[in-house]
């Protein structure tokens, strides 16, 4: 490879890595990611009133269901208490009047009145000084419902097995004839919560990449050093050196983010072994992902997604470089890059919302479109909307697109980097595109 090209790339990389801001930013990122992944332990470490119990005082107005209700409460509370964030409840029956209890009601007390009802079997009145936290209210409400069901069963002579048969969900034996699409429909729901988190770093790195390529080219133009540089290396080599350096930077930055995440998880795992646990939401999502075969699919989709991401980085950086060559200062580039940013943002939102438009032909077509494909294709594949072949098609389209923008874009770039006028920019752009003198 040309010595000057390598030198330009090296200088460009040195400018990016050998700055105090790169070090500071990465320290902040590492700390933030590690803290986020260990937020549970950190919150626990700083302490708080985690052991306080909520006392449920029950006044049974002739329903004779207190003992049933108490059992249900204990049962539900113990299920939830297997997690770190469980609730601690104590139930007791009171013979005092409701008015007396209300007068003396403490902030950690909930007053529950159980009343009989001829049609609904059981009605309850729940009184507290403050808002009840969500988990406690959930336990309370489910316990009341179970109590009501048991009373209803007894009154109507329904045995437990019959009730279970009635209330259990229909068993669906799901068969999908197309093997590529053999996927759990619940994945769509999971995707909407997991995928935005997974692709957010890619979106952010794309933004950094666009800024980086454009910024550097703009700087060389505004300082007029461009003429000296391209009198010694060809515009093509110049552009490619910027693209290569910026892509290496974002890929390394992306890998560093993964390293920070792994360190965070390792610390978290260490804490797990010493008695702490992952947040219930994380374990629940992870369990669902494993059950739906999502993790298994990742093995196939990860390499293809990585190829798509790297190619998309290339496409974004080439276009950013060409746009930057047409601008005269950083302000102009900021404006000119806006469509590119929106395109990337559009891809991000489409990937998030893909689950809402199951079977949409438009979304499927958009998954082939360069700039969008790296966001949308993997998302659709994970939901079983498209197969591996479709991702491969997206990759081929992206490669063709890169070839075309390089082929035509370099003509624009060659003219653009020597243009210092804001007049008729688009006219010059199209003339250069058609290989005419501008």
């Amino acid at each position: 490879m040309n010595r000057k090209f390598l030198y330009l790339t090296k200088v460009s990389l040195r400018k990016k890595f050998k700055t105090k801001w790169f070090v500071i930013t990465n320290i902040i990122l590492a700390v933030a990611i590690i803290l986020l992944l260990n937020i549970n332990s950190i919150v626990s470490f700083f302490g708080g009133d985690f052991d306080s119990k909520t006392n449920i005082i029950v006044v049974d107005n002739g329903t004779d269901s207190y003992s049933l209700f108490e059992k249900n409460i204990e049962s539900y509370a113990s299920t939830i208490n297997s997690d770190e964030d469980g609730v601690k409840l104590a139930v007791k029956k009171s013979n005092k009047t409701v008015d007396e209890l209300k007068d003396d009601l403490q902030d950690d007390e909930i007053l529950v009145e159980l009343n009989s009802d001829s049609t609904e079997y059981l009605k309850a009145k729940v009184t507290s000084n403050e808002k009840i936290d969500t988990l406690t209210y959930q336990v309370l409400s489910q316990s009341l419902n179970s109590t009501k069901t048991t009373i209803g069963m007894a009154i109507n002579n329904i045995d437990a097995t019959t009730l279970n048969n009635i209330s259990s969900p229909v068993t669906i034996d799901r068969v999908v004839l197309n093997e590529d699409n053999n996927v759990d429909e619940n994945v769509g729901l999971i995707m909407s919560s997991v995928f935005p988190t997974v692709i957010l770093p890619f979106f952010m790195l794309t933004m950094i990449l666009i800024q980086m390529v454009g910024g550097e080219i703009c700087e060389e133009k505004t300082t007029r050093s461009m003429e000296i540089i391209i009198s010694n290396v060809s515009p093509k080599q110049h552009l490619m050196s910027k693209i290569l350096a910026s892509n290496i930077f974002v890929i390394v930055q992306g890998m560093l983010l993964v390293v920070y995440a792994v360190i965070g998880l390792l610390i978290s795992t260490n804490m797990l072994s010493s008695g702490m646990s992952l947040p219930s939401e994380v374990t629940s999502i992870f369990d669902s992902l494993v059950a739906s075969g999502f993790i298994e699919k990742l093995i196939y989709v990860i390499p293809l997604t990585l190829i798509l991401i790297v190619l998309s980085f290339l496409a974004y950086s080439i276009v950013a470089g060409i746009l930057a060559s047409m601008t005269v200062n950083m302000e102009d580039f900021s404006q000119l890059q806006t469509p590119l940013v929106f395109l990337s943002l559009g891809g991000y939102y489409l990937a998030m919302m893909a689950g809402m438009f199951n079977g949409s032909v438009l979304i499927r077509i958009l998954s082939y479109v360069p700039f969008l494909s790296s966001f949308v294709s993997p998302s659709l594949y994970m939901m079983g909307e498209i197969g591996l072949v479709d991702i491969v098609i997206s990759i081929i389209i992206l490669i063709l697109f890169i070839y075309l923008i390089l082929h035509f874009g370099i003509k624009v770039y060659k003219v653009g980097i020597l243009n210092y006028s804001n007049e008729k920019v688009w006219s010059k752009f199209f003339k250069a595109f058609k290989n005419k003198d501008v």
């Binding site: 300082t223 461009m226 000296i228 009198s231 010694n232 020597l418 003198d437």
Partner: protein, 298 residues
């Protein structure tokens, strides 16, 4: 030797350079003059291979200029072309390596040049922290660090005080002695008169004046007679056929005549007037430039 042969360049329908030809021999300093927008920058860009001419060719030592030859060319642009966030050392290394020099060996050369221009103490300072004059010196060093075969200087003395101008002039003369062909462009005509043996004046991309400076002045015809003395017969002088103007310049009388044959007539009129100065001078380049460029505009 640089040979520019019949180059023509259009931007759309606008003709920037029209059939321009000139030659700069080894060790020769050549002036390229023209008002703003006359086509100088386009000519430089064509010579540097940054843009292609629609017709014509540019040869350096008989070879068409491409990226294999640009290492032998130094270019000082009119506006400063330095990456201001870099240090002096980083900047000079950067341009030096791009001109084909070895990164590991370049620092010795840099030290020599910095010392020659008395700016060694700024070696590790950022460009943006330097004065305009010192930035100009860095720009000049970056253009000549590779001992170019062809040096293009577009307003190289901008922002320099007389001492630094002399320092840079000496460096240019040293390069000339080494056999470097130099193209010099400036709006300050006294520099061109100082340096250039040959020149071209461009107007709207066309060479309206071209050749040796001495011949150009000779052919221009108009001469200036500078007079100092008592009771000079100015009214009689004004009436002489061929006298274009009579004016007072810095305490002396300047008589502009349309041809040198008028000069003896003026002398015969003033010889009895107790004169202390009678000098027939060539026209200044400034006068020629204004006459030629102004004439086109009229």
């Amino acid at each position: 030797m640089l040979e520019v042969k019949h180059i023509t360049k259009y931007y759309g329908n606008n003709r920037a350079v029209n059939d321009l030809s000139f030659t700069v021999k080894d060790g020769e300093i050549f002036g390229l003059l023209g008002e703003n927008g006359a086509g100088k920058t386009t000519t430089f860009r064509i010579i540097m291979g940054l843009i292609d001419a629609n017709s014509g060719e540019v040869l350096l030592d008989g070879e068409k200029i491409d990226y294999n030859l640009t290492d032998k060319i130094g270019f000082v642009t009119e506006e400063r072309s330095l990456l201001t966030k870099l240090t002096v050392l980083e900047q000079l290394k950067f341009y030096g390596v791009l001109k084909g020099m070895d990164e590991s060996l370049i620092e010795n050369d840099i030290d020599k040049w910095l010392e020659k221009f008395s700016i060694s103490s700024y070696k590790n300072r950022k460009i943006k922290e330097l004065s305009k004059g010192n930035q100009q010196k860095i720009q000049f060093i970056s253009a000549i660090i590779n001992h170019p075969k062809l040096l293009i200087l577009d307003e190289p003395f901008t922002g320099l005080d007389p001492i630094n101008v002399k320092m840079m002039k000496d460096a240019i003369y040293d390069l000339q002695k080494e056999g470097c062909s130099i193209i010099f462009s400036s709006h300050q005509m006294e520099y061109i008169e100082d340096f250039c043996e040959k020149l071209v004046i461009l107007v709207k991309g066309e060479a309206v004046v071209s050749g040796n400076l001495k011949d150009i002045k000779e052919d221009f015809g108009i001469k200036n007679i500078m007079l100092r003395g008592d009771d000079l017969p100015l009214d009689k002088i004004k009436k002489v056929k061929g006298v274009l103007s009579v004016s007072k310049v810095r305490g002396e009388i300047e008589v502009k005549i349309e041809d040198k044959v008028i000069a003896p007539k003026i002398f015969s009129l003033v010889k009895n007037s107790n004169i202390t100065k009678y000098d027939v001078e060539e026209p200044t380049l400034n006068e020629i430039f204004i006459a030629k460029v102004g004439g086109i505009h009229e």
